[in-house]
């Protein structure tokens, strides 16, 4: 802990040397944490806390897994608080893109890598531009690390490892493009998150050469990551919580309900896509049939050909409209289906922390010996609980805001796309009518008597 304190003192907020002079350190910590705890934790004055825990510094050492050695609740809260103000000032200083998938063939396997380009003005980066290639496993690793380091923060989901239904080949073009898009989203969400983006792991992910990354991965593997998936799952399972605060129960209920709704929306959209595809297949036959007909006719040949042409053009527009649904709306909804898993996991972990705390409190109450050490542990656990709850609370609000923006824009885009589709079809039919009118004016009036 002392070492950590020393580290903290060295890293000065160089980031604030330029524009933003007003360090909001004048503000007092919003949440009342017993001062003695924070003092015990870090052996620092409060003012130092505020200055040190700025955006530029990376405090959360992903290597250490003991939450009690991590940042104090007070500082965390401060970080969050002024992060919100920072966002208003639009200080996006890290831009990351994921593109250019490439296939790699080795003796053992074939895999895809993606180009990750980073442009940043952040001072802790050695240069302002980086370009690396990363494969899906690397992304998985990054997310795993962030999860270990921040069990009760909400991390954006990664695209799934593989799709069960309807996928023949892993390296199908659409699959790769969908994955690329999702990976791009993922990295951007991480970059926008005040805590995730300031970690070492993230930085190394963005900048390290392949060899460097591999050695860093080996080095940093905490004991949790050495466990198998199943063990992790057991560890993540809920241990009975007695007195869950209402606010978290509400969050749990919301997660359940939201999960149902978003899954339903996803399914409905998939169904629409399927019906639209089948409609398109039928529509595609109309044009050729009319063209065939027009070859049998004389006076009618031209209008029939015109209509066949119009129908073909409508098919093209329908194809494009369908593409938007498949390439944008469905993946967007799917991401939020995956998000609900994260929400539930995060709430579970919070519950586990509380369960541990409650168990410890019970132990204290029942045991006669070793009360001193138990009380010490209890205090650490209470601290941990407090920190976890606050972190979750803030991140929850943050997540909800982002969810609202994301889904709102997804639906607006879809509505927009549909309007454009109908506008284009309208134009096609109006032009058909116009051509027929011009044709009719050219003909003489026909006498039917």
């Amino acid at each position: 802990m002392k070492l950590l304190g020393a580290m903290m003192q060295i890293k000065r907020p160089r980031f604030y040397s330029d524009s933003n002079n007003s360090v909001p350190s004048e503000k007092s910590p919003p949440v009342s944490i017993p001062a003695d705890i924070s003092g015990e934790m870090l052996d620092l004055d409060e003012d130092d806390d505020l200055e040190v825990f700025s955006k530029g510094t990376s405090l959360t050492d992903g290597n250490s897994l003991n939450p009690s050695t991590q940042t104090s609740p007070a500082s965390m809260i401060n970080q969050y608080k002024f992060q919100e103000e920072e966002e208003d000032a639009d200080a996006k200083d890290l831009f990351v893109t994921v593109d250019n998938p490439e296939s790699h063939v080795t003796a053992i396997e074939t895999y895809i890598t993606y180009r990750v380009v980073t442009k940043t003005t952040r001072s802790e980066f050695d240069s302002s531009e980086f370009e690396v290639r990363r494969r899906y496993q690397d992304f998985l690793w990054l997310r795993g690390r962030l999860e270990e380091a921040h069990p009760t923060l909400i991390i954006h989901p990664l695209p799934e490892k593989f799709v069960m239904k309807g996928m023949v080949e892993r390296f199908n073009e659409d699959f790769i493009e969908n994955r690329r898009r999702a990976l791009h989203r993922f990295l951007n969400r991480i970059a926008e998150h005040p805590i995730f983006s300031s970690g070492d792991d993230f930085k190394i992910f963005l900048t390290a050469a392949p060899g460097e990354l591999i050695s860093h991965k080996k080095q940093g593997a905490g004991f949790l990551s050495r466990m198998g998936e199943t063990v992790r799952a057991v560890a993540a399972s809920v241990r009975g919580v007695r007195n869950r605060p209402d606010e978290f129960t509400e969050m749990l209920e919301y997660s359940e309900a939201f999960s149902q709704k978003i899954s339903a929306l996803h399914k409905v959209t998939q169904r629409i896509s399927k019906e639209q595809r089948e409609y398109l297949e039928e529509l595609k036959e109309c044009g050729p049939t009319l063209a065939l007909w027009s070859s049998c006719e004389e006076a009618l040949a031209e209008p029939l050909r015109c209509m066949a042409d119009s129908l073909d053009r409508c098919c093209q527009e329908t194809e494009e409209q369908l593409k938007h649904i498949n390439d944008e709306l469905i993946p967007d909804l799917h991401e939020y289906v995956l998000c609900t898993d994260t929400l539930k996991a995060v709430l579970r972990r919070r519950d586990n922390i509380q369960a541990d705390l409650e168990a410890k409190a019970e132990a204290l109450a029942s045991k006669k010996t070793e009360r001193e050490s138990i009380r010490d542990e209890l205090e650490k656990l209470e601290d941990r609980q407090e920190w976890a709850n606050n972190a979750l609370r803030s991140d929850w609000t943050r997540w909800k805001k982002i969810m609202r923006t994301d889904l709102q824009s997804a639906f607006i885009d879809t509505a927009d796309n549909n309007v454009k589709y109908y506008e284009k079809c309208l134009a096609i039919w109006e032009s058909f009518l116009h051509s027929q009118r011009a044709e009719a004016e050219g003909n003489k009036n026909v006498d039917y008597s």
């Binding site: 019906e275 039928e282 027929q436």
Partner: protein, 447 residues
């Protein structure tokens, strides 16, 4: 766009001028335009099939059955114009009576492309439409089709003057049990003509070789085949597409439901979601009207699908008359040949006569004389027959070709209007779509 279209002058253009007309209105527009220029009958009389009703009664084999009757209303045009508007003459008829009428017309006017009836059974259905003849939508569309049939017949230069047709419309001769009188007449006429038509019909169905068919009719028959094939295909494709489109729209209704449920758990997003949901419901509901309108377009195509059949029938009848002419000519030819052989005693070609005369010896001069006399009579008859058939054939060809030309113009006009109606309908559908999604977009913005 609509304004400029409406400005154009001619009657034809008036139909596509107002894009706000529903297709059925436009169709009526067309019909009235066409029929105004039509025959005497329509100039004097307004005809409509106004209503449909269910009846139950005993049928021919004395069993209870339920059937639909249609009300035929007629009214003198002058009265309407003078706005005195007397009660129209009206009578009820069922579909089978219309069939009888049409069969009568087919047999009586073989050179005419007789307008078709609406389909007997619902075909080219997509899942929403019932194939049940009692279904109100089907009955309604059949009513329109029957009215269309009567108007077409009434606007035909030859058919409109037919007495039986007039009676069918108005039951002029006194009162009796509804429709029975005329039906009897048709039936009896039908029986009389069908007995000689029977053999004709049998001949029609049999394969026969015509030596010199009129090329134009052969081409027309081929065209009829193609038309039938392509319209069938189009109707099939269109029915399947309608089915799918129905699915697309209806599934959007699920959005409405889920948005509504979702809005219940959200605070800020709730209102926007809820109202967006309403628009999704409206979108889902709108397909019913859209597809109903499209049925009219399908009905217009169907009429010409059946017209193709009528066209082919005329061509086949030509082949039959031609065949009969050729047969008569051939008979005459062989009789003349026999005469010559008998007269000159030479046997030109191998014949039974020649052979028997060789085997059994020649006949007596008296026998020969008798035979020659008989042949002469037969040849005279034969020549008369050939002359008759020639005239018949010639008249048929003339009449049929004139009617075919008339039909061609009508078809080109009508189908062009059908295509235009379809476009108008699509435009209306697109406009609705734009409106709904713009509304939804606004709601999403308020999320």
């Amino acid at each position: 766009m609509e304004r400029t279209m409406a400005d154009s002058g001619s009657e034809d253009i008036a139909v596509i001028g107002n894009t706000d007309l529903t297709p059925s209105e436009s169709q009526n527009n067309v019909r009235n335009t066409m029929f105004e220029k039509g025959t005497n009958l329509l100039k004097r009389m307004e005809i409509s099939v106004a209503e449909a009703e269910k009846r139950t009664g005993k049928n021919a084999v004395n069993m209870q059955e339920t059937y639909t009757v249609y009300l035929i209303e007629t009214r003198p045009v002058d009265a309407v114009q003078e706005a005195t508007s007397p009660v129209p003459d009206s009578l009820w008829r069922r579909y089978s009576e219309f069939e009888l009428l049409r069969n009568y017309l087919l047999v009586t006017y073989p050179y005419v492309v007789v307008p078709p009836l609406p389909e007997k059974r619902a075909e080219f259905v997509w899942h929403k439409l019932s194939a049940d003849n009692m279904d109100p939508d089907f009955v309604e569309r059949r009513r329109v089709g029957l009215e269309n049939f009567l108007l077409r017949v009434a606007s035909h230069p030859a058919l409109s003057n037919d007495k039986i047709f007039r009676s069918f419309l108005t039951e002029v001769e006194g009162k009796s049990l509804e429709g029975n009188r005329v039906r009897d007449r048709i039936s009896s006429e039908g029986i009389v003509s069908s007995s000689c038509a029977d053999s004709r019909i049998k001949a029609l169905n049999a394969t026969f070789r015509v030596k010199n068919p009129d090329k134009r009719f052969a081409e027309m028959k081929h065209y009829g085949d193609e038309l039938q094939s392509v319209i069938s295909q189009l109707l099939r494709v269109r029915a399947r597409a309608a089915d799918r489109l129905y699915g697309v729209y209806k599934v959007h209704g699920n959005y409405g439901r889920v948005f509504s449920e979702w809005s219940a758990i959200e605070k800020e997003m709730g209102d926007g979601l809820q109202s967006a949901g309403h628009h999704m419901d409206a979108y889902a509901a709108s397909i019913d009207d859209i597809l109903e309108e499209e049925e009219h377009y399908a009905d217009q195509l169907k009429e010409y699908l059946f017209y193709a059949d009528a066209l082919r029938a005329v061509c086949r009848k030509h082949e039959l008359t031609q065949y009969e002419l050729e047969t008569a000519a051939q008979d005459l030819c062989s009789k003349k040949q026999q005469q010559e052989e008998l007269a000159t005693g030479t046997v030109r070609t191998f014949s039974l006569k020649g052979m028997t005369s060789k085997l059994f010896g020649q006949e007596t001069p008296e026998q020969r004389e008798a035979k020659l006399k008989m042949l002469e009579a037969q040849i005279e008859e034969g020549e008369e027959l050939v002359k008759e058939r020639n005239v018949e054939s010639g008249e048929f060809v003339k009449g049929a070709w004139a009617d075919i030309e008339r039909f061609k113009e009508q078809k080109d006009h009508d189908l062009r209007e059908a295509l235009i109606n379809y476009a108008i309908m699509q435009i209306s559908m697109c406009k609705k779509g734009i409106q709904v999604w713009n509304n939804a977009k606004e709601c999403f913005s308020k999320m």
